[in-house]
């Protein structure tokens, strides 16, 4: 399957870049020779990576990187230029972050295709940390036939009960997939899927015990996240749903619109609710497996 790479550079340089990208069997280069053209392409079609020069017609490569961060923040961006980092004006782009390749290096074009392949394969520019066993974790999650399991009613009853027990505005159960959190049930909110870049759970799942953020405004992992602010989220507590093999696949969470604390007993109770959610998932999956086996026999 070919992967679409947006290549942006000046008219006299674009051919070299796109030819290098196209030479890689699984890549398909799409060309733009100005910032405006690049923005149009990004609006119109999905790309898996952007390779851009620095000095462009109508602006700089950093403007394109910033546009990506605002619309598809997980999409990797590579700045391929002979301008040194010291000469690049980053004044308005201090937290854009991208990969830099010096076009003057003797192996620059080989390095470019190598790096592009690597950043795509490893989702290498995301703004969250992934557990070292991420692939095994995703493999464990894939063992559950989530879409086919009759868990919706059970989970809806559970999130109703959790919200009532803790007297919180929102309680939800979500599974953390590669790029998104899949909200299976949500009391108090109409949430279906959230990108991992925007979720708190992608941070919480890395912590063995219950993670509590009493006030999101006081934590720089979340205070600058406009998505959370737009949802009115002020406080958070999340407990891991862990498989028997020790992989964290999801979270049971509490959200409130005001600053909140959770004492040790409440954290323990939230963890018990997470274990209950995991048991429901295991039981439903087990029952489905039994039925499948019976049907085969």
């Amino acid at each position: 399957m070919s992967r679409t790479i947006l290549c942006v550079d000046t008219a006299d340089r674009i051919d070299e870049v796109s030819a290098a990208i196209d030479a890689e069997e699984t890549f398909e280069a799409v060309e733009a020779t100005s910032v405006e053209d690049a923005r149009t392409i990004l609006d119109e079609r999905a790309v898996v990576c952007v390779v851009t020069g620095y000095e462009l017609d109508g602006g700089s490569g950093l403007e394109i990187a910033q546009a990506i961060r605002q619309t598809a923040p997980q999409t990797p961006c590579v700045l391929f230029t002979d301008v040194s980092p010291g000469e690049i004006d980053t004044a308005s782009f201090e937290e854009v972050l991208l990969e830099y390749i010096n076009r003057d290096l003797p192996d620059a074009y080989d390095r470019l295709t190598f790096v592009v392949d690597d950043v795509i394969n490893h989702s290498a520019q995301v703004s969250f940390l992934k557990p070292d066993d991420e692939q095994e974790r995703l493999d464990a999650l894939a063992q559950y036939d989530i879409d086919d399991l009759p868990i919706e009613e059970s989970f809806d009853r559970l999130t109703d009960l959790i919200a009532s027990h803790f007297d919180t505005a929102i309680a939800f159960i979500g599974l953390v997939e590669a790029d998104e959190e899949n909200i299976l049930s949500c009391h108090g909110g109409d949430w279906d899927r959230l990108t991992r870049e925007e979720t708190i759970c992608t941070h919480s799942m890395l912590q063995e015990d219950v993670m509590v953020v009493e006030d999101l405004n006081e934590d720089k992992r979340f205070s600058e996240n406009p998505h959370l602010a737009n949802l009115g989220i002020r406080s958070y507590a999340g407990a891991n749903m862990t498989t028997n093999d020790g992989h964290v696949i999801g979270q049971v969470c509490l959200i409130d619109h005001e600053v909140r604390t959770y004492d040790a007993e409440e954290r323990h109770e939230l963890q018990q609710f997470a274990e209950t959610a995991m048991e429901i998932l295991e039981l439903r999956q087990g029952a489905r497996g039994m039925r499948t086996m019976e049907a085969v026999q």
């Binding site: 040194s84 010291g86 201090e94 937290e95 990969e99 703004s127 070292d132 890395l206 912590q207 600058e224």
Partner: protein, 217 residues
């Protein structure tokens, strides 16, 4: 270019087993002097290696001297990005440590140039907690680590050390950030100062054996 190698990196000055190529190490503790001592001993380059160091609170010359104290001649086998002091040979100064885009591009450039000279490298950030404090959004620090630090370890023949002072105010829960980073890095070394010139290192993820060793500072 490569996707790593099986050659390991020595760390015997601290009584640790050799460290596998590609290993990312989170170095944490609440005593910055003890952290610094261990950090430089981990990132100082042996004769067939080079170091690339990001230093937030130390001048480039200071970094080179610290590397020389750890391994004779290591300072001359290093490239330094520093938030303080003057630029010079193999030393680049970053005016604003909150400018993560520039910091990341410089780090990528130095690591690629270093690997043009010799494929084996040791890289490190001292202190990541200072960078977190300078950044508006800690998620940008994570993107920096993913884009310009952990990626290089995956692709090349090197090890990387990211030091975090747990006594710092980073604008987020330090314990929660450390817990998250521990799961993302391959190894962790916790440094606890136990005497005027002595510290205990508690390691996890190195050589598959968790251990505690005492080192002189």
């Amino acid at each position: 270019m490569s996707l790593g190698s099986s050659e390991s990196f020595t760390a015997d000055s601290m009584g640790l087993d050799a460290i596998d190529s590609g290993t990312s190490i989170l170095l944490v503790g609440d005593d910055s002097d003890a952290l610094k001592s261990v950090f430089y001993r981990l990132v100082a380059a042996e004769e067939d290696e080079r170091s690339v160091v990001v230093a937030t609170d130390e001048s480039g010359r200071g970094v080179q001297r610290a590397l020389n104290r750890a391994v004779r001649g290591a300072g001359s086998r290093s490239s330094v990005l520093t938030g303080t002091g003057a630029s010079g040979t193999d030393i680049d100064t970053i005016d604003d440590l909150g400018d993560l885009t520039k910091l990341g591009m410089n780090l990528s450039m130095h690591l690629s140039e270093t690997q043009q000279q010799t494929p084996r490298f040791r890289t490190g950030i001292y202190l990541c907690s200072t960078i977190c404090a300078e950044a508006d959004d800690v998620r940008s620090v994570y993107r920096l680590l993913n884009s310009n630090f952990l990626s290089e370890l995956r692709r090349g023949d090197g090890i990387g050390v990211c030091a975090l002072d747990t006594s710092s105010d980073i604008g987020a829960s330090v314990s929660s950030v450390v817990a998250g980073m521990k799961t993302s890095f391959k190894a962790c070394i916790e440094v606890e100062k136990t005497g005027r010139r002595e510290a205990t290192l508690t390691t996890s993820g190195l050589s598959g054996v968790d251990e505690t060793v005492t080192v002189s500072l």
